[in-house]
Amino acid sequence: MFRIVEKTLLAENIYKLQIEAPRVANSALPGQFVIVRVDEQGERVPLTIADFDKEAGTVTIVIQTIGASTKKLCALNEGDSIADFAGPLGNPSEFVEMSAEDVKSRRYLFVAGGVGTAPVYPQVKWLYEHGAEVDVIIGAKTSSMLIYTDEMSKVAKNLYVATDDGSYGFKGMVTAKIKDLIENEGKHYDECVAIGPMIMMKFVTLTTREYSLPTTVSLNALMVDGTGMCGACRVSVGGKIYFTCVDGPEFDGHQVDFDEAMRRQSMYRQQESVANEKHNHKCNCF
C-alpha cells in the first residue's frame, strides 16, 4: 500500500497527490511515468511523474478526474493509501543522458497544455538545476484552469501563459504563441518539447515543422501493464510500430502518426463511459 502524504486541489477537477513511494522516488528521472491502481477493482492507470523527492521518499502525480478510476483516486484523502504505485516506467528524457556542456548550450522551448503542465515541471526543473535556460509556454482554456504557474516561473527563464479566452496572458492557442515568439520576438530554439492533450501535441508539431524545430512529445497511450507485456500502447512513429511503455514515452513528434494515436486512445471510450455511469449512479431505493 502507498500512502497519500498530501492532497491539493489545483484547479477544477485537477488534484495534486504526493505519494509515499521511496523506491520509486529514488530512481525517478524526468520524463518517466508510474502505473497507479487505486484498489482491488481499479484499473492500472499510467500517470506521468510531476515531481519527486529522494530524501522524503515521495513522488508527486497530478490527476484530472475523467474516468471511473481517476475519480476514485481523487476521492481519497491525505493519510489514505492506494493499492499500487509501480515505477518509474519508460525511458527518461533524452537530455538526462547528455553532457553538461550540451545541456547548457541548447535552447529549449517547452509547450505545456492543461494537465500536461505537471510532467513538464520536473523536466524544466532538471534543466534549470543543470544550468540550462528554458522558455516555457503554458496553455489552458481559461485562467481558472491554469496549474503549476508559480512553480514553473521559478525554474523557467521566461514563462508565457496562453489562454484560449484571453482571461490570462496571451489570448490564443499555444501554437499562436510559438509563432509569436519565433517570428515577432526573434527567438531561436534548438529543441521543442510538447506535453499535453494529443490534439495539442499534433498541432504543435505541425507548427514547429514550419520552422524545422526538432520537437519531442510525450505520448499518453492506453496501457495495461506498462512494462512491455500487453502491446496496448503501440504507436506508429516514422512508419514503424513502437511500444510507448518500453520505447517511449517520448518520441520525435514530427514522426508520430497522431491521427492513429488519437483513434487508438478512444478504443475503450464506450466501455469507460459505462463504468463512469456505474460509479456516478446514486441509489434512490430508500
Binding site: R23, M229, M267, A275
Partner: protein, 461 residues
C-alpha cells in the same frame, strides 16, 4: 498386477454451460476415481514417464501411493521434484511428456498421470499437507526477479535450503503468467495459484509487488546496496509479436497478452471491476498455441462468436490436445490452413474483417513441421470486429539495457548455460526469459536447476 480397465474418465462441466462462465472446466478425480485410475499403472522397472518429465518426478512411486490411498506419501514423493503439482497437473502438455511415453499408450490409453498429479496436489492443498520443512537459515540473501513458474520454483528450493529469499514482482499480483495469462477456467487463481504461493510464504519467502527490476531498482543495486548474494532472473517472455500486416493498428486489433491480461489479471469479466474489454460480436484469434486457445475460449465466454485462424493444419497445432478438444466442444470454429494478409477497417478505423489466403502444406521446415505455402488467388475475407494476435513474444529488453555485462543472444533472450549461469557473476536466469515462450513445467525445471547452481555458487564464493 495392474488393473486392465479403461482409463477412468474425468468429470467436466457441461460444454454448453461452461462456454458462458469462467468456472473451471475440469472437476478432476475424487479419491475413489484417483485410486481406480492409479491401479492401471504397470509400475514399469524402467519408467519412461519419469525420463519424459522435465523435472523427473518419480511417477510410478507417487501413483502406487495413490493406489493404496496414502495421499500424504504421494504428495511427499512429488514434493521432492515439484513444488507446484496442482498447477502442473492442470497445464502441462502431458501428451508429449509423461503420458506420451506411457507403455499403456501404445495399444490403449496412457495412465492419466496429469489428472493424478492434480489430484494429489489439490488434496495436499486442501489438507494443508504440503511439506514446509527447511534447513536452518544460512544467512545468505537471494533475489528472485518475477513470480511466475520459474521464479516460484527457484524461490521454493532456495528457501528449503535455508536461504533468505525475496521475490520481486512487477505487477500487482503474484504468479506471473499463471495469473495474467492462463484463464480462471483452466487454472483457478484463488483456489490454486494463491494457495500454492501461500505455501512459499510458509517457507519464509518474502514477496514485493510493484517492483519493476531494471526501473524501480536494478540488479546492481540489489547486489551492491541491498546485500543480495545472487540474483535469479525469471522475468518471463516479454513483448507480444504482431504480424506486420496492413491494418494491425486498427481499433479492435489486440495482442492475446492484452486481451488475456484484461480478462484474467484485471478481471474484466467481473462487473465489480473497472477494467474495460472489447469483444464485439465476432472475434478471430490468429495462432494455434495454448495462448490462442485461452484467448478464443475467453472471447467465447464473453459472448462473442469465436474463431481460430491458423496457417498450418490441425495436426501441427502446438496447443495441448485437451485445450483443442475443449475448445471444439465449446463451439469454437477452427479455420486451418488459413493465413491473414491484412486487417480491414471502416472509415472510422475500427476492424470489419480479416483478409486471408488459403495455405497448403509443403516441405518440412527446421522444426520438422511441414511449412505452409500460399495458394495463389485464394483470397477471402473473414468478417469480424476483433482480431486477437496470439503469435508468441519477443524478449523484453529492459534488463539487458539496465544491466551492464548481461549477454543476450541474437533473438534478445538472456544467454545462460545449462544451470542458468549468465555472463554476469552471481546472476542466474531461467524460463521464458532464456528460452523464449515455452511451458510452465520447463520454466519450473529451469528455476529448480538454477537454485542448485546458486547454492553451489554461494557456497564456493
Amino acid at each position: 498386477m495392474a488393473n486392465k480397465i479403461p482409463r477412468v474418465s474425468v468429470r467436466e462441466q457441461d460444454a454448453q454451460m461452461r462456454a458462458t462462465n469462467f468456472e473451471e472446466v475440469c472437476y478432476g478425480y475424487n479419491s475413489e476415481e484417483a485410486q481406480l485410475e492409479a491401479s492401471r499403472c504397470l509400475n514399469c522397472k524402467n519408467p519412461r514417464c519419469v525420463a519424459a518429465c522435465p523435472v523427473n518426478i518419480n511417477i510410478p512411486a507417487f501413483i502406487s501411493h495413490v493406489m493404496s490411498g496414502d495421499f500424504k506419501a504421494a504428495s511427499d514423493v512429488i514434493s521432492e521434484d515439484s513444488s507446484l503439482p496442482s498447477i502442473c497437473g492442470r497445464v502441462c502438455p502431458q501428451e508429449t511428456q509423461c503420458e506420451g511415453s506411457c507403455i499403456l499408450g501404445i495399444k490403449g490409453e496412457p495412465v492419466a498421470i496429469g489428472k493424478l498429479e492434480r489430484f494429489v496436489g489439490d488434496w495436499s492443498l486442501e489438507n494443508d499437507a504440503k511439506s514446509v520443512a527447511k534447513a536452518a537459515a544460512n544467512g545468505h540473501k537471494i533475489a528472485v526477479i518475477g513470480s511466475g513458474p520459474a521464479g516460484l520454483a527457484c524461490a521454493s528450493d532456495l528457501a528449503k535450503m535455508g536461504y533468505e529469499v525475496t521475490v520481486f514482482e512487477a505487477l500487482h499480483k503474484l504468479g506471473g503468467v499463471l495469473v495474467y495469462g492462463i484463464p480462471e477456467f483452466r487454472l483457478p487463481k484463488e483456489k490454486i495459484v494463491a494457495r500454492e504461493i501461500e505455501t512459499l510464504r510458509k517457507l519464509g519467502v518474502k514477496f514485493e509487488t510493484d517492483v519493476v527490476v531494471g526501473r524501480t531498482i536494478t540488479i546492481d543495486s540489489l547486489m551492491d546496496d541491498e546485500g543480495f548474494d545472487a540474483v535469479f532472473i525469471g522475468s518471463g517472455a516479454g513483448l507480444p509479436r504482431f504480424m506486420g500486416i496492413e491494418g494491425e493498428n486498427l481499433n479492435g486489433v489486440v495482442s492475446a497478452n492484452e486481451f488475456l491480461t484484461r480478462a484474467n489479471l484485471m478481471r474484466a469479466y467481473d462487473a465489480e471491476y473497472d477494467t474495460p474489454i472489447y469483444v464485439g460480436k465476432r472475434v478471430v484469434v490468429v495462432g494455434g498455441g495454448n495462448v490462442a486457445m485461452d484467448a478464443v475460449r475467453t472471447a467465447k465466454r464473453l459472448g462473442a462468436d469465436a474463431t481460430i485462424v491458423y496457417r498450418r493444419s490441425e495436426a501441427e497445432l502446438p496447443a495441448r490436445r485437451e485445450e483443442v478438444h475443449h475448445a471444439k466442444e465449446e463451439g469454437i470454429e477452427f479455420r486451418m490452413l488459413t493465413n491473414p494478409t491484412a486487417v480491414l477497417g471502416d472509415d472510422k478505423g475500427w476492424v470489419t474483417g480479416l483478409n486471408c489466403v488459403e495455405m497448403e502444406l509443403g516441405e518440412p521446415d527446421d522444426s520438422g513441421r511441414r511449412s505452409p505455402v500460399e495458394k495463389a488467388g485464394s483470397d477471402f475475407v473473414v468478417e469480424c470486429d476483433v482480431v486477437i494476435m496470439a503469435l508468441g513474444t519477443s524478449p523484453n529488453p529492459l534488463l539487458k539495457r539496465t544491466t551492464a555485462g548481461l549477454e543476450t543472444n541474437r533473438r534478445g533472450c538472456i544467454v545462460a548455460d545449462e544451470w542458468g549461469a549468465t555472463s554476469r557473476e552471481g546472476v542466474f536466469a531461467g524460463g521464458d526469459a532464456v528460452t523464449g515462450a515455452a511451458t510452465v513445467i520447463l520454466a519450473m525445471g529451469a528455476g529448480r536447476k538454477a537454485a542448485k547452481a546458486i547454492d553451489n555458487y554461494v557456497k564456493n564464493k
